[in-house]
Symmetry: C2
Subunit: 417 residues, 2 copies
């Protein structure tokens, strides 16, 4: 068992001395602008396409570090801001279609490859320009974030628009991802929004996540439900995405903390623990990627794989759950997940983390970045864990003389928060 | 080592005594019409959606058996035709949109769920009604096959139509699947087409498959190429789908036999053997599902899985290659593939075959049918292997007194064909 202080250092060092330098070294396209994200084990570029999700997420990550990490050198901080601006400049120039919506992908030099069918491109662009506007005070960045957010709200009831292949009249379903991300997004750009819009969006998102998509009989969050929140006995309706549900729980915990809503916090912890019990692979360890709520075969051939983001996001959630409620089960899960994650994902030889493990925990795609993995979940998760661990550590130091090693004894009842 | 006669019996019995009865027992929806295809390990229905690909493929399979299998009872034969007509009736009533194109999927009772975005729904509908028109002489079936085929030809240059999310002007690519399937389709409904259209379609398909998608430097068939047949250094352009390429080679062998084109046969065998060398998993056995021609990570998380159809289609191809050219390497591959396939895919406990194995050959989705696996590749492959083995067996019996067990000695040089 590590001490709180050792955990804190580990997450901090991995973020600042491994992961962020990896992307600074390998991902910046100094010739055409923007970022390479398809990086092999050693960081070599194997594909030059530019995916808006990942371009925007990297802008967000570097802006966030600039905005929030203070214990660093001015040079490092200024380098982070330069990386963020480098990505933003490419996005601003090439990322949008005529109607202001964001393409899904571009060629290396910024020509559009895939139509703006995917509303999450817009979500991540909003996050990117929101954080960067905080960092710079630049009105243009603020305007891009704001207008993109408004467009997302307009599109939210029919996010796929004309690219939707489902005939909604036959089996109307709504998907969990958008309300989940809006929970987070409304806080990300709170400084740019009318207070009432923020509160209203948050109210709606909490309701959607915790009442509509949460199935009380099942005790879990469903990935798709009918418009009135009922179960649909179909592939989509039976689908569970445990990592998604658990990631959403730390967004909810942040909102609950902001509202000082202890009942909401406790509910988020309960859902987290139920999801962990359901999705933990008791044979090989790790969390499954997709499951079927009736135990039927999933459509997804990747259902039993162990993905980096699922594990990183879960570490964040259980630490926050522990910090905010003192629930010992959260801490126990943190230690179990920490052990699994650090034994399987990081690559000490070449830096950064692998993303894709098979059920046994073996790497089956030896990439550090690709079409979906970029500079986002690992650094955001490391940052969040670092901060939570630091606050637990400070709290412990301030309130007890016990040795740091005696964590279990100390935290077995809720700390006074 | 088994004798030719034993192999022949094995493939015949698996088809007639296991696989076909499994679908007759479990898949027929006597209440709403059409077929259930989502069947678990024991044949229980776990989802009732109806996918046009699989509805049509099952109609084709039962029509084909009726048309081609003569050593059976009149009752069995008449049952097969009844199953085919049962599926056709559902398809005819519910399968098409107003413009005559085929939906992708329907609810159990036939209401459209997913738009007709997928041209392969039309391809398999053409096959289904083509075979059924041979079985019945029914003009309505013939007309459906013919008009659908004409529609495919009209759509072939832009098969995804308005549902295409790629911006073709930036990186135009064409995909291997359609020309590959047209090779087969034009023969399937030859009896309904103008001779000139058949010959022209076959000419174009052979050219596309063997010259345009075949990359002579690589020695393999690419899944996507530029409009003029060049390599595109992108995820799509680097993609190899070994099972697809090898399946196409038996379509080409059939066309080459029809045209008495020995050079084309030899080329198809060469490509088959090169693909097998490239895609065989030397560590765990079996053929990979997807690969990258430069050895980079694929987009497809399922790349290292072992799929039933890949192995069944490859058995057909290597047997035909051996039958038509006598190439010993084809026979050696047949034995290796036969051993792997029969050790891993069939389920003697509950019948039929598993579809989805992980890299190690372990079942990770214990289904017999789903959204993509239905009554098609296994029975078609078993039928094709059975017929090829039978003809090899007859050929052997007619031309030698050697004992059947001595296959290797007998077939080490090309048989006089």
């Amino acid at each position: 068992m590590l001490t709180l202080n050792t955990y804190t250092q580990l997450y901090r060092d991995a973020l600042l001395n491994d992961v962020i330098p990896f992307w600074q070294t390998h991902s910046i396209d100094r010739q055409a602008g923007g970022f390479f994200t398809c990086l092999d084990q050693k960081g070599n570029v194997y594909d030059t396409d530019k995916f808006i999700w990942l371009q925007a997420r990297q802008v967000w990550t570097f802006s966030m570090l600039y905005n929030r990490v203070s214990d660093t050198s001015p040079e490092q901080s200024s380098d982070w801001l330069a990386v963020a601006k480098h990505g933003a400049s490419f996005l601003k120039k090439h990322g949008r279609a005529d109607d202001g919506s964001w393409y899904f992908s571009l060629t290396r030099d910024g020509r559009p490859l895939v139509q703006p069918y995917n509303i999450f491109s817009d979500c991540f662009a909003t996050m990117a320009f929101g954080q960067l506007s905080v960092a710079t005070g630049n009105d243009e960045y603020a305007h891009i974030a704001q207008s993109t957010f408004e467009q997302i709200l307009r599109r939210r009831d029919n996010p796929k628009g004309k690219w939707n292949k489902a005939i909604a009249a036959t089996r109307p379903l709504k998907n969990f991802a958008l309300p989940m991300i809006l929970c987070n997004l409304s806080l990300e750009i709170e400084h740019l929004l009318d207070r009432q819009l923020v509160d209203q969006t948050i109210d709606e998102c909490i309701h959607e996540v915790m009442n509509v998509f949460y199935d009380p009989d099942l005790g879990l969050i469903r990935e798709n439900v009918t418009p009135d929140g009922q179960f649909s006995d179909s592939y989509e309706g039976r689908l569970l995405n445990p990592g998604h549900a658990i990631e959403a729980m730390w967004f909810i915990m942040d909102l609950a903390t902001r509202r000082n809503d202890q009942a909401l916090l406790e509910k988020a912890v309960r859902i987290t623990l139920a999801t962990l019990d359901y999705a933990w692979d008791t044979k090989y360890g790790g969390l499954f990627y997709f499951m079927d709520s009736q135990g039927h075969p999933t459509q997804q051939l990747e259902w039993d794989q162990k993905l980096w983001w699922v594990h990183v996001e879960t570490l964040v959630t259980v630490l926050k759950g522990y910090q905010k409620t003192g629930n010992q089960a959260c801490w126990d899960w943190f230690e179990r997940l920490h052990t699994y994650t650090w034994q399987h994902f990081p690559d000490p030889a070449h830096g950064e983390w692998y993303g894709y493990l098979n059920r046994r925990g073996e790497v089956f795609l030896p990439l550090k970045g690709g079409k979906w993995k970029g500079c986002f979940h690992v650094p955001r998760g490391l940052y969040q864990c670092w901060q939570t661990l630091k606050s637990l550590d400070l709290n412990q130091s301030a309130t007890t003389d016990r040795p740091e090693g005696d964590l279990h004894g100390y935290f077995s009842s809720p700390p006074a928060s």
